[in-house]
Symmetry: C2
Subunit: 202 residues, 2 copies
């Protein structure tokens, strides 16, 4: 941080708040703040306005947990989306990643995390009940569990599978295997084992 | 960027503006935007407000070129600062770096860059005239040229030295040598040569 009061308190506060963003340390927060105040008209003012508007308008979708300016969100209300498939993800960032991949025209369900007894995250802290209710309401034929490939992700997937049992809905998981462009030499044994186990005819 | 209109236009615009900040690429801009909209009350709103205030209040000091909310800036008007020494730096970021080092209680002069014929930067694009006028106004005994140790920095230092000739002011440069904690093996030949040439009695 700029010290001994070199910059006014407004700039100090700007640096302090910017340094709390993911990916910005104290040093890059200073650089970003300096860039902002140097380009006051072209960068700082538009960004301040965009943030103000986002703060006013952004809300969490009450159906799927997505973040949008509309509730229900644009994906939930999009008539071109296939509502019979629900992709369950941990976080909105994962929803964005899925949309960038752009493979399925499905709808989503954001869990808000994974079950994690060590961190005190239980089923009531996630939106699992709401997912079960969505499936129970009918019209859903497949639920794709797209949690991260971690222990907590696995645990959560099993828990959700149990909760959806008997609803007559198909439950699937993401394939595990070698990432596109991945080199075997750099892959961990678990990934290699999964890729071998799920090998496909060529 | 989130695609196919997953997030509302307000969030898209936020991501786009954030990705223009130094140190933030498209990916980290998305992460930062998501963090912001998820923590609307505690992170987004305060940052939007801080940016708005900075946009309103920040200005360039008409004396030294520093960026502050006051003009002249806090350093120029600080009675505890020794105005007889002026440290000349290229950029406000360098001023902040000097203040973090906190060695000299001097005043500053921000050039706004270096002479660079290739990039079309001439003396009139920098605040050299204003520096000469500050020195001519009296009360200055030493000018420390603290430009970056680059070819353009050197050229600019020589140019300023010529312009200040005959004003009876002492002109000095930053020492060149081994950085604190630096290992000889990793230093370039130029630095080693400079460190040898400026060797000190032990």
């Amino acid at each position: 941080m700029a010290q001994r009061g070199v910059a006014g308190p407004e700039i100090e506060r700007l640096i302090q708040l910017l340094s709390r963003l993911p990916g910005l340390g104290p040093r890059s927060a200073r650089r970003a703040a300096l860039h902002l105040v140097k380009k006051k008209e072209t960068v700082l003012a538009p960004l301040a306005q965009a943030m103000g508007e986002a703060a006013d308008k952004v809300r969490v979708c009450s159906v799927c947990g997505n973040i949008d300016t509309a509730d229900p969100c644009m994906i939930c209300t999009d008539p071109r989306r296939d509502g019979s498939t629900i992709i369950v993800i941990e976080d909105v960032a994962d929803l964005w990643a899925m949309e960038r991949a752009g493979v399925l025209n499905a709808k989503y369900h954001v869990l808000g995390g994974t079950l994690s007894p060590l961190d005190g995250v239980g089923p009531d802290d996630l939106t699992i009940d709401r997912l079960v209710a969505r499936v129970a309401a009918g019209g859903v034929s497949e639920v794709i569990l797209a949690m991260n490939a971690t222990v907590d992700g696995e645990t959560t997937a099993h828990f959700i599978t149990d909760r959806l049992a008997g609803q007559g809905v198909k439950i699937s998981r993401l394939a595990a295997g070698v990432p596109v462009g991945g080199e075997l030499d750099y892959l961990d044994e678990g990934t290699l084992a999964a890729a071998l186990k799920s090998r496909r005819p060529f």
